[in-house]
């Protein structure tokens, strides 16, 4: 293993560990937090009734758990940047502030996305239709230059002040900005699991894998068009054709 690979692993391992813990909690907790919108009856209902069955605190906790499970692995590269460019004694705080800024952006986004999901569900428990419509919106966004621009910006690692308080401010702002670009990239896809009460964990897993595959792609010129995560495809192809898999 190279020195650079060891450095990468130093940040990657704990991040993946926390994410795995969040996935474990999501799978096992189920009723404790609302990672999807629960609808009491299949007919159209008022937002008020939905809120009664989906308490904001529970929704927020579920949202936070979803983010931890799904998004944390996407932060390995920027966290490495924060880690590498900070004084050793400041690294834990700097990384915590970065995650804090990132989480603040996503929790603020949740204040918009969760009501949007409630509104969609209040029209009725015709989940297939709502999921298809949401997926269509996600697909349109996926093919847009705006999504690609957000993906590109998510690869940028700015210079960071070394000494507090400027260092604290910089990593917090970096986390917030990174979160905003991430929201711009992922918001539509994140709606999908929210609208799938019966298969939300499966949807979460599928969206997570897609987002991770997207993040592995290099920046490219924004434009309209379908952009498949080719690297993951090639990686799978290489793996499936390898001797290890055949034997």
């Amino acid at each position: 293993m190279t020195a650079a690979a060891r450095e990468r692993a130093r940040v990657r391992r704990p991040v993946l560990l926390v994410s795995a813990a969040a996935w474990t909690l999501a799978v096992s907790a189920g009723h404790g937090v609302a990672m999807t919108i629960h609808q009491p009856v299949s007919a159209p209902v008022s937002i008020g009734l939905l809120l009664a069955h989906n308490h904001p605190t529970s929704l927020a906790a579920g949202w936070a758990l979803m983010l931890t499970a799904m998004m944390l692995p996407l932060l390995i590269a920027p966290l490495r940047h924060v880690h590498d460019r900070s004084f050793p004694q400041r690294r834990p705080k700097a990384m915590a502030l970065f995650v804090g800024g990132y989480a603040a952006a996503w929790m603020a986004a949740g204040a918009l996305l969760l009501p949007a999901a409630l509104a969609i569900r209040s029209a009725g428990d015709d989940s297939a239709l709502s999921v298809v419509l949401t997926a269509a919106v996600a697909l349109a966004w996926q093919c847009s230059p705006y999504k690609q621009r957000c993906l590109n910006r998510g690869h940028a690692h700015p210079s960071l002040a070394a000494a507090a308080p400027a260092a604290d401010r910089d990593v917090l702002c970096f986390g917030w900005a990174h979160g905003m670009w991430c929201i711009g990239s992922c918001w539509a896809l994140m709606l999908v699991p929210l609208l799938m009460p019966r298969a939300h964990l499966t949807a979460m897993a599928a969206v997570s894998l897609w987002l991770a595959a997207e993040r592995m792609e290099r920046p490219r010129l924004p434009g309209w068009g379908w952009r498949a995560p080719a690297k993951t495809g090639r990686l799978l192809k290489a793996y499936l054709s390898s001797d290890r898999f055949r034997t």
């Binding site: 293993m1 190279t2 020195a3 650079a4 690979a5 060891r6 450095e7 490495r80 590498d84 460019r85 900070s86 004084f87 050793p88 004694q89 690609q148 621009r149 590109n152 910006r153 998510g154 690869h155 940028a156 690692h157 700015p158 210079s159 960071l160 002040a161 070394a162 000494a163 400027a166 290099r218 920046p219 490219r220 010129l221 924004p222 690297k231 993951t232 495809g233 090639r234 990686l235 799978l236 192809k237 290489a238």
Partner: protein
């Protein structure tokens, strides 16, 4: 030269017997043949240049792309173009394969014209005495018979001063990289290694390896230079997206390729990476393969592992003798840091410089700043704890035999003028021992900065990061009791004044220690 009976021998362009020795004359004929092919022809001159990188606006500006040009199929573009590996441990093996494929294409044209079947690409060893000037065959618009369409000549070669006098200023290049013990390093502030940082397919990574930085990047900038009528425009060699259009590019890279083999042999402890990710290349991890179009119409995919085994390759160089001063023996550094211990203790046999990879930030300047005009200054505030850690490491050198190495980083350097070149100086702040004045830290050439600054480019606009080793400066400050300071001053002096429109900014200047 090795003792193997290899088929092709790359010779020094300055030692071919005349300015237009056979190897260079046939090279010119081959270049002319490749230049005659259309853009979409995979064995054409422009196609091969686009494999390194293409930026259509610049190509159009220089007349290498016209509205009537038909581009190749998208599949061929995706397979071949924009492939060069920079800021990566694949820099050397990718360029070796690129040279081999290009050489095969030129040779095919040479043989088709009745030339020798053993033709090989010459190299330009600008470090050799009296060989730093551009080889004459490239400097004249005429063939040796006086006819004026010499394909080796390009007008967009401006030289170090931007006046068309093209040479490699030996005061600005060095072979320090040849003393680096490790092929690969880190991108976190310490040594990036002789050959570059462990990456996947990296078409323009932010941190260049030591040989790539010096002399590779610098020679690109010195030869290409900047257009005196428009300082934002560099020569062809100054930008990775136009460099392959200049016929001297290939002789420069043959020399870089030669230096790789020289490094490997001197001493034999210098070895290429053994990790499978390097040996098998980016294709093994789902990324683009290294792929070249060959003269028979086939595509040749290759891996760094295949390029590493020089003995199995069919070419050789006429000179693989050591070029650099031997690495400063660790014993010498230890003796300097601990003269008392050196009298009673044999440091000889201590391996060259520590390879520890614990890299930690020691200090940084407060904010980003622009480079405009003649020079810029900033101050790198040192963290007291980290500074003491470095001092303690140097003080304990006799015992540990592994004192810290120290590196100055110019982070997130952005701009639009790749021909920009900077000198960097370091000095201790007021109150320090006056015996240690300002010290020269190194050169920085912004080769690739335009592309790295594009928000939608491969680096998402984060720019380049340059790493200069300042271990000797820190040693000197330590030995003069001048390291106990709050900050070090850094002065940056452009080789030529930087216009405001070049938009050159440095995000942060930092100092890192690398050690235990």
């Amino acid at each position: 030269m090795s003792n193997t009976n290899k088929r092709y021998l790359r010779r020094n362009v300055w030692e071919l017997g005349s300015d237009w020795g056979d190897d260079i004359l046939w090279y010119a004929r081959g270049v002319k043949a490749m230049k005659a092919r259309v853009l979409a022809a995979p064995t054409g001159w422009r196609f091969y240049a686009a494999i390194h990188g293409i930026y259509p606006p610049l190509w159009t500006l220089y007349g290498y792309l016209t509205p009537t040009d038909q581009p190749p199929d998208q599949g061929e573009i995706d397979r071949y173009w924009d492939q060069c590996q920079h800021g990566s441990w694949h820099f050397l093996p990718w360029h070796r394969g690129y040279l081999l494929a290009f050489e095969a294409n030129i040779r095919a044209a040479v043989v088709a014209a009745g030339g020798p079947q053993t033709w090989a690409l010459p190299y330009w060893n600008y470090f050799k005495p009296n060989q730093s000037a551009l080889p004459p065959a490239f400097a004249s618009p005429d063939w040796p018979d006086g006819q004026g369409d010499n394909p080796l000549f390009v007008p967009q070669r401006y030289g170090p001063a931007g006046d068309g006098n093209v040479f490699v200023d030996l005061s600005q290049v060095n072979l320090d990289a040849m003393t680096e013990p490790d092929f690969t390093g880190v991108g976190s502030g310490g040594s990036p290694g002789f050959g570059g940082v462990d990456t996947g397919f990296e078409h323009g990574g932010p941190v260049h390896g030591l040989l790539e930085s010096q002399p590779h990047d610098w020679v690109h900038g010195l030869v290409g230079g900047g257009d005196p009528n428009n300082p934002l425009l560099g020569g062809l060699m100054s930008d990775p997206d136009t460099a392959g259009l200049d016929p001297i590019f290939w002789l420069h890279h043959a020399n870089i390729d030669r230096l790789w083999e020289v490094w490997r042999r001197n001493p034999t402890s210098h070895v290429d990476p053994t990790e499978s990710q390097w040996i098998d290349g980016p294709a093994s991890i789902g990324e683009r393969a290294f792929s070249m179009p060959m003269p028979d119409g086939s595509a040749w995919d290759y891996t760094p592992g295949q390029m590493s085994d020089f003995g199995t390759l069919e070419y050789d160089y006429d000179d693989l003798a050591p070029l650099a001063e031997p690495a400063e023996p660790t014993a010498l550094r230890l003796s300097r840091l601990a003269p008392e211990a050196a009298r009673s203790k044999a440091f000889a046999g201590v391996p060259p410089m520590p390879s520890e990879k614990n890299v930690e930030l020691v200090g940084a300047n407060p904010q980003a700043f622009r480079i405009v005009g003649g020079e810029a200054r900033t101050s790198v505030a040192l963290d007291p704890n980290m500074r003491r850690k470095v001092s303690a490491s140097l003080a304990a050198a006799a015992e540990t035999q592994a004192p810290d190495r120290v590196f100055l980083n110019l982070e997130n350097v952005r701009g639009v003028a790749d021909s920009t070149a900077l000198r960097v100086y370091v000095s201790a702040r007021q109150g320090a021992n006056a015996d240690v004045g300002e010290q020269f830290a190194g050169h920085v050439a912004l080769f690739g900065v335009r592309k790295a600054s594009l928000a939608d480019g491969p680096q998402a606009g984060q720019g380049l990061t340059f790493v200069l080793e300042i271990t000797k400066i820190i040693d000197a400050l330590h030995l003069s009791d001048a390291l106990d300071v709050d900050a070090l001053d850094v002065r940056i002096v452009p080789i030529l004044p930087v216009p405001e429109e070049a938009q050159v900014t440095i995000g942060r200047i930092s100092i890192f220690r690398q050690g235990r």
